[in-house]
Symmetry: C2
Subunit: 446 residues, 2 copies
């Protein structure tokens, strides 16, 4: 049993003072604003929030940060480098890189990650002797970095979509591909997640998975009652290809294959029709927006106001890890909307924080995380209000400072499932910058 | 005479190793890549850049950070709070707030600031006994914070523009207004800037200054050979009002009044016509873009690619200080363009860094700053390549990491005009967070 006393904490959308929080067995047992300070309680200065979720990650993309901006950073600079990195991964170097990346996430206040994992096999497509060598490396990496993970094991069968049909996987894509959706199920059922770990499903995209296979994967996820995610309508070209083949939008194809449900998250969903929004809303699906990546790749700005108005929950992901900072992602949702509409005031602070916390956690299969409330998983994230970025706010606008002024650099303490993982800005288990340097250098500078 | 040895430094657009830099009398005397380490040399780890310029600042807006996001942050939340703060300023509290804000800028690697200064008189419009009490407070604040300043003393005569004519200044606006442009000249000529300080001119906007007065102010700036700035076409409503009165765009009105020149900077310039871009280009004017503020206020995305193609230099400003981070402003220029065009690869890294350095410094009247080259002003900014944000880059992409991955939190050392102002992330002269807290609390929490 551990007691924390927070100078300020966000409880039920209110900034409360002197909040006593008692944690037992990884859950909140007692939460009391204006509580008595126990001498044994650990004091958390600044503002304490619930745990942030990173609902869409490709951990190995961390190795590409900044490098994809060379030569003006065309789309091909990005794609060539991404395939180069994907080609060179093996279970050992992936484990080391993913652990460092997940540790960077922990430092940023991220308590659970959804790893959209598609590099499954050897470079020529042959399975590893342990068919889940790569997935297990990722699960181990998260455990060692101290963060909760939902491994969204990704089905990727085809190399692309034309009006005539599907193309076979080529080159590096062979690493991503199980021969059939049945083979995918056979492999994934052998995965054994640890405590505070989940294995869910992902459909890479309408380009890489046909409707029959989608349906089978969705049925599996339904039986298992686990999350299922898919990349949806990130760029208009995908919509065009999908329409040419199916005479439907990607969302309509997924709906037709019975993929949409309250366990489904559409990742990106940048270019949606009104009908797409309706389908997502009526099925209680979530949309996972990844603003920093959508900016980096020039995808565009998604219809977040329309989605919220329709009742669709929005989660957030750092995706390609151009940056890892859920506060930046959070404010980008509102700021992009301001730029798009030329007007302030779309999503309020508590809506934006819910995207980074409850909606993201639920999208990853942790509906019992994202709030500081008895019975919930004991995730806490403390940001300093004494940095040059956050200094000067009054108590009643401290939550606005978290969303609009703080950065990941302001996170001081992170507690995940009751365990203190980050203290005074330092990760207790991983020498993060050394590991980032070493693992990225090893992968990229050959 | 002081020697620095930089592990990496950006010299003439190349990342060079082991760069010996000798500084004498506030200027670079010798710059030598692969230089011998003198035992007395101070080592600068990470990547060292030239000094960043913040070409557009309203220092007192720092007090509004995060507070303007309450209640979903409508335009009126912002404007009401801004006027409340403006109303309460006096020479003492302005001095303290501006010093803390300028010190925050120094911590972010900003070596010179353009303070677009318009709060001149007492709340009822009566001049202070010392007519420049406010401007002198701002100049002193910059000197104490150790950063170079160009005080862009702002002429603000009218309270607004209608199709019929100009409205008189009302309420708080009376503080901003000199009775006539001649009165403005009379006041400004009494200002006595210190060393490494300049007094330039600013025309608040076409709403606040009539063409005859603009012309007089531009003539004064021409005789003095000092910079002149103006808010231009930040929002479309301003263009509409200007057309209704003058049958011209704001840029055309300024051109007609002979304001445009190589000493002129158009601030924002978000909504320009093709003719506006031509006028700015043929007169060698600069445009100062303020991405974080333009996002915050929902202004829109300016035509940076068109401006660069036309040969217009772009400078950067943090304006309302929603954040103070020139790396973020820098990358926003490219990322906004990607979102607007749905394509990567518009402005290359060295173009973006030139906006934050040479173009900004020149816009503020310091054409001898912004490069690490013998004879230039000795401004140096070192960022760590050992933070979780920047770790993992190879030497050849270190500059891309500065633009696309670093934040102000990564700045470790800042040297301004040869003086070490920031060391290991600490400001040597101002207790920045304490001063931000105290000065903002004093102004806002009454």
């Amino acid at each position: 049993m551990t007691d924390y006393i927070c100078d300020l904490a966000l409880i039920d959308d209110r900034v409360e003072e002197q909040v006593l929080i008692r944690v037992a067995d990884g859950r909140f047992e007692h939460v009391e604003p204006g509580g008595q300070t126990e001498p044994s309680a650990t004091r958390l200065r600044g503002l304490t929030l619930a745990g942030l979720a990173n609902a869409h990650s490709h951990a190995f993309h961390r190795a590409l940060r900044s490098r994809t901006q060379a030569d003006r950073g065309s789309f091909w600079t990005w794609r060539d480098l991404m395939y180069t990195a994907a080609e060179r991964l093996d279970p050992d170097n992936y484990h080391r890189l993913a652990r460092a990346t997940f540790a960077e996430m922990a430092l940023a206040g991220i308590t659970s990650v959804g790893e959209f994992h598609y590099v499954h096999h050897q470079p020529d497509g042959t399975p590893y002797q342990n068919v889940n060598a790569m997935g297990e490396a990722v699960l181990a990496a998260a455990a060692e970095a101290g963060i909760r993970i939902t491994l969204l094991d990704t089905v990727y069968l085809h190399g692309g979509l034309s009006a005539d049909g599907y193309l076979p996987p080529e080159g590096t894509q062979r690493r991503f591909s199980d021969a059939t959706a049945d083979d995918w199920v056979g492999r994934v059922e052998q995965l054994t997640p640890g405590s505070n770990q989940l294995v869910g499903a992902a459909i890479h995209s309408v380009r890489a998975v046909d409707p029959t296979s989608m349906k089978l994967v969705a049925e599996w996820a339904g039986h298992q009652r686990v999350p299922i995610h898919a990349h949806v309508s990130e760029q208009e070209a995908e919509n065009d290809q999908c329409r040419a083949r199916h005479d439907m939008t990607p969302t309509e194809v997924l709906h037709d294959a019975e993929v949409l449900s309250d366990r489904f998250s559409a990742v990106h969903a940048t270019h949606l029709t009104t009908h797409d929004v309706e389908l997502l809303a009526t099925t209680d699906s979530t949309v996972c927006v990844c603003p920093s990546t959508e900016h980096d790749l020039g995808d565009g700005i998604g219809p977040t106001t329309e989605l919220v108005t329709a009742g669709v929950a929005i989660a957030l992901g750092s995706d390609s890890h151009a940056i890892i900072d859920q506060f930046e992602e959070c404010r980008a949702i509102e700021l992009d909307e301001r730029v798009r509409s030329r007007r302030r005031g779309h999503h309020c602070v508590s809506e934006l924080l819910a995207m980074a916390t409850t909606a993201g956690q639920a999208s990853l299969g942790w509906p019992d995380a994202g709030l500081i409330r008895p019975g919930q998983r004991a995730d806490l994230v403390t940001i300093t209000l004494d940095s040059v970025r956050t200094a000067g706010v009054a108590t009643d606008v401290a939550a606005a400072a978290a969303v609009f002024a703080a950065t990941a650099a302001d996170v001081t303490h992170v507690i995940i499932d009751g365990t203190l993982i980050v203290e005074d800005g330092h990760h207790g288990r991983v020498d993060v910058t050394t590991e980032l340097h070493a693992s990225i250098h090893d992968l990229m500078d050959r």
